[in-house]
Symmetry: C3
Subunit: 670 residues, 3 copies
């Protein structure tokens, strides 16, 4: 429900605010909260995320009075509400009367109340109670003018992504029944001829609980699919109630960036707007690159539509072993990075720092120290600054490059008993993304079912699991002149995790013009040198392959070891294959390919400067320039831009170049 004016909610401009948990505080604090929100320029708060016990203190008791009043007050002061359905944390009374709704681990341990997310996704009791709560809220506030957004549950899959209880087992069997129809289709898909695992009926099937050795991999893969689906059913049930009772108000559930357990392509399709909780680690020098990647994913999940940064930390979080704060300037920079990459909201966990509980050491817009604190001054300052960026809201970006991201491939790639347990999706993806980021190249993520024709280059850092129809799509893309780049250990299995026989990467063998005779993983610490045709030397770690060209030319060859002389990187027409893991050096190869494909960067920005462009439906364009370093950097602008129109620094001297201070940002308008 992204409306044509470029805002995803009824609230104009970029949303600013955070999670507001008044139930943690005495009522006398609430009035001060609203007053301070005005002072800070807060335009939206997320309300009620963990308020189930407060709203429904007992099975048949409801307490809406406090919410009525708060909504009234917030509305009166111009603060819109993202109203949560509060279903992530069932109250003690529900758990104690239905202990069977607590989740169970693979070892059979039933997890206890006292934390959060303590529910079995398949529990009918939990589901009924959650929907009942959502319905009660929607009936009361479905048309309340303060409510600009509905927030279903909270971070589905946080802590608990799977439950192994008997109820979950029965649900899994129903799900398998729908997927496979009969038991022999399951036996065939799961390859139960192996290790005497044949089932005579669905009733014999259980979840992949802890077993003596490795469990059936297809069972494990289906379990991942099921777990994503089981949680999605929970979401759908709440969403249906909201659609019915609060028509016209957009609905979201907050994602957790690039999160393995949930297939966000499927999830995003059921949201009105995508929202994300993003927690880059200030102690990680590459945090902004990983963040950019996650934001590009969020932007891509609904085809480029603006998304909402619903949660981030103003400074430190509290759940890492060591929680380093954001040094001055960093929270502004990282917030604007999200906007630069498509966010129409900059929101935080949380409004007021908790006094008690497991997250009291998490930073907040209003710190423990109160308003006489650096944190609060920053909250006010940044709120004001963000208002200047209102014209950016609704703007979209375009990209010439796409990266294929397929959750079922991620799940399959990381199953047990593979040639190397070191082949992890994020480890493979990140160097490819980083190469694009460093070169200033805009990129979209696409699902394996995407239409690819609009892209000059399509990157598939890994496609271990490759369905025939995906392979055909990729082959067709390359055949049509598209530049296709496949990473190692691809084209190995089909959707049932069955090997594509006849030589990997079987379904793309023709397109790529290569056959992999054998995978040649490298242990920790090992590396193999290789050379490009022009003599430049690179080094492969983690993974190599005994690769034979069948129509492709060698772009690089190994210089040493058992693979000496064999191709490491190949090209057939516009189809490239990288048969090894080059780590950060993949930038060299990708750089060549991007040049060949004629891909143009957003801006030839100096190292350390990130550049993006957002274009409003109305035609306005904004160039974001972000300096991720601690030193000033001079950026020379393309002819079509001028420093004169920096929304953040209206008083800049006009000219063809500008100096970005450490961690500083410019947002040029035209």
């Amino acid at each position: 429900m992204t409306d044509a004016t470029g805002t995803v909610t009824r609230v104009p401009g970029l949303l600013y605010g955070g999670d507001y948990n008044p139930e943690q505080w005495p009522e006398e604090v609430w009035a001060e909260d609203v007053k301070l929100m005005r002072e800070a320029g807060v335009t939206m708060v997320t309300l009620g995320v963990f308020a189930w016990a407060r709203i429904q203190p007992g099975p048949e008791e409801w307490d809406f009075g406090w919410l009525d009043g708060l909504l009234e007050q917030l509305h009166a002061h111009g603060v819109a509400v993202d109203l949560a359905t509060a279903t992530a944390s069932p109250p003690a009374w529900l758990v104690r009367s239905h202990p069977e709704l607590l989740p169970v681990t693979a070892d059979g341990v039933r997890l206890e109340f006292g934390s959060r997310q303590h529910y079995c996704p398949s529990s009918p009791v939990y589901r009924a109670a959650a929907v009942r709560l959502a319905r009660a809220l929607a009936e009361r506030y479905g048309k309340h003018p303060a409510v600009a957004l509905w927030h279903v549950h909270n971070e589905y899959g946080d802590h608990v992504t799977e439950c192994f209880c008997a109820e979950s087992a029965a649900h899994f069997r129903r799900w398998l029944g729908e997927r496979y129809g009969g038991i022999e289709a399951l036996n065939s898909a799961w390859g139960t001829g192996f290790w005497s695992q044949h089932y005579r009926s669905l009733g014999e099937v259980e979840p992949p609980r802890t077993a003596p050795g490795p469990v059936n991999p297809t069972q494990a893969l289906d379990w991942r699919r099921f777990c994503s689906d089981a949680l999605l059913e929970c979401y759908r049930a709440e969403k249906a109630v909201l659609d019915e009772l609060a028509p016209g108000t957009p609905v979201t559930t907050n994602f957790m960036s690039m999160f393995k357990a949930l297939d966000y392509w499927a999830w995003a399709a059921e949201e009105d707007v995508v929202s994300d909780d993003a927690y880059p680690d200030p102690a990680d020098p590459d945090a902004h690159v990983h963040a950019a990647m996650n934001y590009d994913l969020m932007r891509s999940l609904k085809g480029g539509a603006p998304w909402l940064l619903l949660e981030q930390a103003p400074s430190a979080v509290s759940w890492r072993p060591v929680n380093v704060p954001k040094r001055p300037g960093l929270q502004r920079l990282w917030s604007l990075q999200a906007v630069a990459r498509g966010a129409d909201a900059v929101m935080y966990f949380q409004w007021r720092a908790s006094r008690a509980g497991a997250e009291k050491h998490h930073s907040a817009l209003l710190p423990h120290r109160g308003t006489d604190s650096r944190g609060w001054r920053e909250t006010v300052r940044f709120g004001a600054e963000l208002r200047r960026l209102a014209p950016v809201a609704g703007g979209r970006s375009t990209a010439q490059v796409a990266i294929v991201l397929d959750w079922e491939n991620w799940w399959a790639l990381e199953l047990e008993d593979h040639p190397s347990a070191r082949m992890r999706w994020l480890d493979l993806l990140r160097p490819w993304y980083a190469a694009l980021h460093r070169s200033g190249t805009a990129v979209d993520f696409v699902p394996p079912t995407a239409e690819l024709d609009g892209y000059r280059v399509v990157l598939a850092p890994n496609l271990y699991l490759l369905r025939e129809r995906t392979a055909q799509r990729l082959a067709g893309y390359a055949a049509g002149g598209g530049h296709l780049v496949c990473g190692p250990f691809s084209g190995v299995v089909d959707e049932h995790d069955h090997i594509h026989l006849g030589g990997y990467p079987a379904p793309l063998r023709e397109t790529l013009g290569v056959v992999v005779d054998e995978f040649w993983p490298l242990p920790e610490g090992a590396a193999t040198r290789l050379s490009l045709a022009d003599g430049r030397q690179l080094s492969a770690t983690r993974w190599t392959e005994w690769l034979e060209p069948h129509g492709a030319e060698a772009v690089a060859r190994y210089d040493e070891g058992p693979l000496a002389g064999l191709p490491a990187v190949t090209r057939r027409g516009t189809a490239w294959y990288l048969g090894c893991d080059l780590g950060p050096q993949v930038a060299v190869v990708l750089g060549e390919i991007l040049r060949t494909a004629g891909v143009t960067p957003v801006l030839a920005a100096p190292e350390g400067v990130e550049a993006t462009v957002r274009r409003s439906p109305g035609g306005a364009e904004h160039l974001f320039l972000l300096n991720h370093t601690d030193r000033p950097i001079v950026v020379t602008l393309p002819a079509e831009w001028t420093t004169a129109n920096d929304l953040l620094a209206p008083d800049r001297v006009p000219g063809p170049a500008l100096t970005l201070g450490p961690l500083d940002v410019a947002v040029l308008h035209r």
Copy 2:
């Protein structure tokens, strides 16, 4: 029941002996044991620690005959008995008829019989059986002349410090009921507004079993309090029986040095004499510093009264991954170190090395090799030497410096989801203690409720949890001219683990003249340079803070990083704040403070030499000089001491200096 003559039992001089477990041996060995004890000068043995199954072979069977005889024989040969109540290891018959008394882990695993300490501290069955056994022993031996000390149970909290069974849960609820009165007080204390954790009744509360994510921190903190109390109840029940039936004989239970799970301040208050089991690691070059710290704690637990070293190893233990023996001279040195720091007993685990069982590779006074062994010769030699130190018994030491040790702070500090999981009590405390130790400064430990006026300096390496009344006491101390030194991450929460709002360290903000705007923990490997006013450079690791002076002056400032220019160490009058972790370099800052406060060391001893003084009630003084190095060291004595009166070396040439050989000890008398 420390009597005025300076001995804690009826046995004169320093106690010498060890755990005696005759039930592991055929009776024919016992006579040899007693003969050899005489040869070694043993004056006391601890009897019956693991003899429950021997004393009570069945529910209604009792076998005291062997004990009768042994007590008789020991008494006849002048060996006093520390008689154990034997309740640490319930017999198989009891466990099998009441499997519910076995302890249960947080994951729900009921631990099996076959080791020791296999009981739920809350089990009424276990408690009744233990008290019944203690009563039977006390009825029989309460007035036996051989019994000079009662030894309740063994090392409470070893292996099992907590049980998560239903009985423990019910006990926890009763304990909470007494603590909070009503459920809303609990809800308020636990901050159950957070994460929808509100309870409607105590019946809904359970122990903090394994949960999906972090559990409620106040629940976890109360659980620690409860677990210490639950075990203390077990102790109290046995003690009451002994007080009734064996009046006049002191009662102890052996502690385990500075042990997190039990609040030894509360425990020591219920003992007649404090006793300790100490196992410094010969492979640790700082072992003697850690040992000194533990001994100072034991000395402090009952206001400076002599304590008993009830267990130590003659050489190697058997429960470390690698158990390095004590090189020649080390066991003598370390034994005398305990005496130097207030011990009136030097006892060992165990008398005769076990032939079978889990501790057979633990060294003993009488080794497997028998009397033709280095170990036995050392046992005899040291027994003779110890007799010369009889005048030392009962002596006390004084200190100008106190360290605040608060168990509930220890527990709170190490809860989950803190700014840094690297902030551990022992890691913070040890460098501070080591600085004092190296400078020869005597120190007492004090509880947060202590009277502080007698000390020139009070050190609080950490007070994360700081009750208002403790803060007031510390503030009053500083206001009265006392030198107060607070370490980082202090004054953060109250007794419910709720944040002291308004800027840390809120309740000491005025006294210290600082406000902490934000905690700035450092990851492993990171360090931040800082400079003292005189230009000396130090380095902070693990922890720094964004610290703002409000009345304090900067003693040191950061030289680099986001905190550059901010104060790292401050002083307001006689109140110092160290806002960072300086590791061993804290010695530089503490050294300045001690000088400022006019603290005088026991002796300006060369590095590697430890010096203490014990003063007898009768006025005699003993100066202990211990050389912890492997080289000879010359020690120059203060004017009031002379080398002529070395109890251990009566033939020393009199003079103002003496040469201590490697690992050697002198005990000067005046």
Copy 3:
């Protein structure tokens, strides 16, 4: 049932083939399989290992038709069958109707179906079902001409070596009852006087489930004995059926090299022929040394009789974290190494690479790529080469040196709470074996009950647990002039894990002429220098001892540390004692001893070349020369050999020396 002609089955020459799992494939593939087996020269396949669910699809359903046909077809094409009883993986229908047969961990977790080896070894239901299946197969195929070998179960002890369920507990009690007769004998053996562990009846005893602290070590030792025996009972029950119904056909079960959980001396005694599954790691530079050791064990298990290499990988496996393939030449070299050390079969897991399931990434004779692959070409080439080695079949080797291997010592040595947890059997053994291997010295493994007179040197790298009768045997051997070499930490406990009192190594003290006063383990990273009499310096790591000579002379003494000047290595007559762990430097000491004892190597081969001799019953001899390096090496032959008769290279120029290419092998015949 090794027959006099030198072949262990009715199949002439060396067996070649692998596990054949047709149940994983559609029937149309089977005909191609048989055709390709002929092409590759396959002479035997192992059939049915995981076919239980296929053979017996339901409790009363049997499907033999497919097996009938396959046996027919294989027989018709000259491929013999090693027929498995298929009992390692009970079908789902059996598990679901009898969930109590699933194994239970020490924590009480019942392991789930979906992997393999999911059975409790003590389960009467499992046992009855397994024997019923074996009987059905034996009744049908007991006299089938295709069946040349019976293969009971698969890799007993893989994944599950122990079960802690109630049924296992009852079985353990029965086993204990048989071992000890009455409960007081058990109490005495287990030393239950320690820690109040006395049992009044067997009914009170349970398996060593997870307990609060360390469990009774003798209980743990008996548990290991019981677990080996419990699985052996399973084997015996199936074997009895085969002996009854398939007389004359040899029976085996495939071992897993030097495997801790099973006492292979006891197991081998119940086999007709020993077989092994060997998976040396191509990423380990010492893999061939470890492999040689395992093969020598297999050769030794039935007194030198040829054994069968039933499983190895053609290239990479799939169950290591990183599975490095075999570089070209390595699988040939390592296969021939097995033959060189007594194997009469070179077989593989598996024939055709699986398309699905947990082992699909495991290499196979017929790779996923099919016949147009390096792997398949190698399969065909090596099959042809192996036929040339037919004369080798049945040959035996002799050795002048024996190593004592005692499983109960292995178990006891690695119990908890020892002086050092770093003293592990394989870590102690491997440097000793490597020294022999490097010097070209042939070696047998012998059980502690072996007749030793035929050996010049007997090595005991460790005998922590030393029964009196073993000690007497060793003492007698040394007294008779045999050269006995004992490693450190030996002679410490008896069969009940009770200390041999009076000074270790008590039962060998006289023979060795030493007393160990105290064990002196070294932590990780520590080392102690020592010198031989001739001045050569060595270094001890991991372990030293305070050793006193009582009749022995010092061969080496410590140069530093607390043991400086004490003997590190001693000799009394022909009895040596190594009181420390010298790591690879043990080769220096063992080299001296071998020289002293007049032991002659097979061949004074250059470093990197392995040499063995096999002698056929008919008198023919074969000298194997294996180059384990990647460079060519010239080997000079002893006078009695000539290069002219290389079975693998019939066209070699005759002469006194030959050049072995990288990874190449020569097999000289005379």
